[in-house]
Symmetry: C2
Subunit: 353 residues, 2 copies
C-alpha cells in the first residue's frame, strides 16, 4: 500500500487543545497519531480546536477547548465539531475517530469507513451506542479495556513522544502522583503510602472532584505532602527529576495509563495497582511493581533499587513510542481498506447476479 495515496482524517476531541497544554490524554494520543502519520508520509487532516498545533492539515470549527474557555458550550462544540468531520467524509479514505460514542452516531450516514479508538468506557450507560454500532471498526488501547461483542481489529497501545521526556540521569527522593485528582486515581492511597513510609509526596494534576480533594486530600497536605496543581511537559520533567517512584494506585481498572509510560520513559519506576491495563504497561519487577494494596506498595518501595531507569525507557521505546503505535495503526488501516474492498466487491457482485 502506498500510504501517500490515502487520505486520513483524525478526529480529536475538543475538550482541550491538541496536543493539550497540560491534561488531556485523548487529545495527546490523537495528536501523536496525526504527527506520526505525517512523519511516515501520509496525507493527514486533523480535526481539532483551532488553536491546535500540528504538522497535519488542521480543520477546525471550534476556537478553543471547551474546558479551557467557559464561553463555549461543550454540547454545542461537540455537535459542531463532529458533524463537520462527517460532512467532509468524502474527502477521506478513512476517518479515525477518537470521539467516543458520539461520533459513532454519524458513521452510517457516510460511505467513508470509520475506525474508532476506544479510549475508555466512561459509564455502562453509554454501552447501548456501542451495541448498536458494534459492526464498526474498533481498536482497544489495552487488552484489559475491551467490551464483549465489538468488532475489534486490534489492541494498539498508546504511544508517547519520547523526546519530550528525557531519561533522568539520577533517581530523586520523592514519591510523585501525576493525574486527575479523583477517587478513581487513588490519590488518598498515595497519601497513605507516603505517611506509612515517611517519604515526601508531590501531587500534580487537575482537580476533577472538588469534594474528594477537600475531604481526602487537602486535610493531609503539609511540608511533606504537597499539591502543586496541574503541570505541563516541563513541569512533568521537573517532577520526574525529583522522583523516587511514581505512585499510581488506581481504584478502578486503568484503561491505558499514559502517565505510566511517561514516567518510565524518564527512567522513573512505577508502583501501580494491578487493575486493568497496568500489567500491560508495567513489566512487574523490571519497570516497576504491580501491587494489590497500600501495604504491598510500601513494601515495593524497598525494592526500587532493582529497577533500572534505562531498561524502563527501553521498554517504552519498544512498546509505547509514537512510531510503534503508528506502525500498528498502519496495519489496522490496511486491514480496514482490505475489508472495505471486499465489501464493495461483494456489493458489486451481488448487484450483478
Amino acid at each position: 500500500m502506498r500510504t501517500a495515496d490515502k487520505r486520513v482524517a483524525i478526529l480529536s476531541p475538543v475538550a482541550w487543545r491538541t496536543p493539550p497544554r497540560q491534561y488531556g490524554a485523548w487529545e495527546t494520543v490523537a495528536g501523536n497519531i496525526a504527527e506520526g502519520l505525517v512523519a511516515r508520509g501520509w496525507d493527514v487532516t486533523l480535526f481539532a480546536t483551532r488553536d491546535s498545533v500540528t504538522r497535519a492539515r488542521l480543520h477546525a470549527v471550534v476556537d478553543k477547548g471547551y474546558e479551557e474557555d467557559c464561553s463555549i458550550d461543550p454540547k454545542v462544540a461537540e455537535y459542531l465539531h463532529i458533524s463537520e468531520t462527517f460532512e467532509h467524509a468524502s474527502e477521506f479514505d478513512i476517518i479515525h475517530s477518537h470521539y467516543d460514542f458520539m461520533a459513532l452516531s454519524y458513521t452510517r450516514l457516510v460511505k467513508t469507513p470509520v475506525l474508532t479508538t476506544i479510549h475508555g468506557f466512561s459509564s455502562p450507560r453509554i454501552m447501548p451506542v456501542y451495541e448498536k454500532y458494534r459492526d464498526g471498526y474498533f481498536v482497544s488501547v489495552s487488552n484489559a479495556d475491551r467490551a464483549p461483542g465489538l468488532n475489534y481489529l486490534a489492541t494498539v497501545y498508546n504511544g508517547i513522544d519520547l523526546s519530550l521526556y528525557p531519561l533522568q540521569q539520577s533517581r530523586g527522593g520523592d514519591l510523585i502522583f501525576l493525574g486527575r485528582v479523583h477517587p478513581d486515581k487513588g490519590v488518598h492511597l498515595a497519601i497513605a503510602v507516603a505517611r506509612m513510609s515517611g517519604l515526601p509526596l508531590l501531587i500534580a494534576g487537575i482537580i476533577q472532584d472538588q469534594a474528594y480533594f477537600r475531604e481526602q486530600v487537602e486535610p493531609h497536605l503539609d511540608e511533606a505532602i504537597r499539591y502543586i496543581g496541574p503541570v505541563d511537559v516541563p513541569g512533568k520533567n521537573e517532577l520526574f527529576g525529583r522522583a523516587r517512584a511514581l505512585l499510581h494506585l488506581n481504584t478502578i481498572p486503568e484503561r491505558f495509563g499514559l502517565v505510566l509510560a511517561e514516567a518510565n520513559a524518564a527512567g522513573v519506576p512505577v508502583i501501580a495497582m494491578d487493575l486493568g491495563s497496568c500489567r500491560e504497561v508495567i513489566d512487574d519487577g523490571r519497570t516497576g511493581f504491580l501491587v494489590q494494596n497500600v501495604h504491598e506498595a510500601v513494601r515495593a518501595l524497598t525494592r526500587l533499587p532493582e529497577i533500572d531507569g534505562g531498561a524502563c525507557r527501553k521498554r517504552v521505546h519498544d512498546k509505547f513510542s509514537v512510531d510503534t503505535m503508528v506502525a500498528a495503526y498502519e496495519r489496522v488501516y490496511a486491514a480496514v481498506f482490505e475489508m472495505e474492498e471486499t465489501r464493495q466487491h461483494e456489493a458489486r457482485y451481488c448487484s450483478a447476479i
Copy 2:
C-alpha cells in the same frame, strides 16, 4: 398536493414521553402535529420514546424519557434517537424536527429536506449551530421568538387539543400559576400579586430551580399560597375550574406560552407580562391583560369581569387549535416540496449543460 403520497417523519424530543404525562411543551406540540397530520390523511412516523402514545407509526430506540428514568443518560439518548431518525431519512419526503440545534448537525448528511420548528433559543451559546445551518428550513413559534438571518418559512403558532380543556362553566376565585418553578416564569411575582390583592394562589408545576423554590417560593407558602406539585391534564382542568385568572408574569421574553392557550381554552383569563410572544397569544382586554409589572397585574384583577370565557375559547379555537396549526404546517411543507423540486431541477439543468 395529495398529502397521502408524502411520508412525514416527526422528530420529537425524548426528555419526556410524547405526549408528556405532565410537563413537556416541545413533546406536546410535536405529538399534536403528528396526530393532526394523521387525522388529515398523511403518512406519519413519529420518532419518540417507546412509551409514547400516537396514532402515527411509532419509531423508537429510547425506552423512556430521560427526565423520567434516571438510568438513561440524556446525551446517549439524544445521540441514539436523533441519528436513528436520520439513518431512516430516505424513507421520508420530509423530516420535521423538534430537536433543536442537535438535529441540525445531521441535516447535511441526508438528502431528505429537514424542517426545524425552533421552540426557543435556550442560550446565546447555541447560536453558532443555527448560524452554520441558517440555510435550512425554519419555522418560529411566534413572531417575537425569531433570530435574525435564519431562513424562516413562517411563524406557526403552537396548537393545543381543545377537547382536553373543556370550557369551565363558571369562574373560580383563586389565582393560579402553572408552569416550571423557575425565575424565568416569575413565580415570585405571582406570589407578590397574591399578597397585594389578598387573593389565594395555587402554584402548580415541576420545580426546575431548587434554590429558587427554596429561597423565593417556599418561605411564602401558607394557607392562602399553596404549591401543589406538577399536574397532568385532569389536574390542570381542576385548577382551571378554581381559577379567577392565570398569572403568567414571566421575567424573560416568552417564546410561545402553551399554558396561556390552555387556560384561555378553558375560559380562564390570563394576566401576562408583556414580554416576547405574550401579546401574540393574548388579545389584551379580550382574553386577558398584558401588564408591565406587578402593580399593573393587581389593577388588572379588577377588570377580570370584562373577560368573556367563551370569547377566550373561541380565539384559541381559531388561532391555537391543532387543526389550525397543522393546516399551517401543510402550507409550509408544500413550500418546502416546491423549493426542493426547484433545487433538483436546477441541479439537473446545471449538470446537463
